[in-house]
Point group: C2
Chain length 199, copies 2
């Protein structure tokens, strides 16, 4: 992280996602690298280390790239999970490590928009710097069913089940609502595909 450009005050508009993909498969390396390579990252700034990858840029472009990463990774009969955190407005954030533009371009949308499969997702939203954060969290839960998702309340998180496109559309809507209510927020999510666990 470029310390010299630290702005000591998060700017709304600089959005990011740190994520990790976990294919429960002994052949995990080509699955992860293949998905990363297949994803068009021209509209985001990205960096990877041994634990995770980060995409930074405008909200629409980051969500587009993360959704593409998951959709490009998916394969029938392979149990996989994507763990991520969307974040915007952290007071410690910097105005460096950015793509050329924050304007929406969503270069992956066309190639991924018609891919559908069921997923399970758990999410936890943290609106920071305000005493009055519970109403937003409750509103976000109510929004799940408006997005066509099945909702379950679980300890420390919310669980939603539905089509992968609806889940990403919901997560994006949660971020867009959160930025109106909090100068800094984080949304942690985990999306699971092809779990062998029967419920």
């Amino acid at each position: 992280m470029s310390k010299q450009m630290q702005c000591h005050g998060g700017q709304m508009g600089i959005f990011g996602c740190r994520f990790s993909l976990y294919p429960m498969d002994s052949d995990f390396v080509p699955i992860i690298l293949g998905a990363l390579e297949k994803t068009d990252t021209s509209a985001v700034w990205s960096a990877s280390d041994a634990l995770s990858t980060v995409y930074r840029g405008g909200l629409d472009n980051v969500v587009d790239a993360v959704a593409a990463l998951l959709l490009n990774a998916w394969r029938e009969d392979c149990h996989m999970a994507l763990e991520g955190q969307f974040s915007e407005g952290c007071p410690g954030d910097v105005t460096a490590d950015l793509p050329k533009s924050l304007d929406p371009s969503c270069p992956n949308r066309e190639s991924i928009g018609e891919i559908h499969f069921p997923v399970s997702c758990k999410l936890a939203l943290y609106p920071m710097g305000t005493k009055d954060y519970m109403p937003l969290i409750m509103q976000v839960k109510d929004m799940a069913e408006e997005h066509g998702l099945r909702l379950n309340h679980i300890h420390y998180a919310t669980r939603v089940d539905g089509d992968v496109q609806q889940v990403f559309s919901y997560l994006e809507a949660v971020c867009k609502l959160s930025r109106e209510h909090a100068s800094h927020y984080a949304l942690h999510f985990t999306i699971s595909m092809n779990s062998p666990t029967e419920e």
Copy 2:
């Protein structure tokens, strides 16, 4: 979650962890189930679904059980990640789904205390309901080196590398410090073992 016992006001002392174990191995089912079965959960309340498992109880006992789960899962040459969120004091929490006692007993400590291997961990702390949350986050970063861990600042998280016992000791210390400063906090962490990625 037992709605009828919702207390609408988180109580400090009721601590929990929702976690998922991801063995990057086609034989992941016996690794996950074996680790869950080998872990002594007599001092926590637990529940599993297709996405994750939750342990609830006193802080010491929950950390003891989560550490044991990871140490029981570990095997040489298997890349694995444990994603978790420690949480305490959520206003929406309930006084149900608890073990018989919140008093520390740590039944796994003896069997796991002498197991050592290197891990990488990323963590993100969210002290809720206060405008003045950045000083605690900065203090927590400083604590990493006091625990013998190598510290790296990364976007949206802090990365620490070191021995697995030191990492759990550090995460426990972060929670114990956070409960002094915030009535509700969450600590998200991901611990990675045996990553094939060279850095």
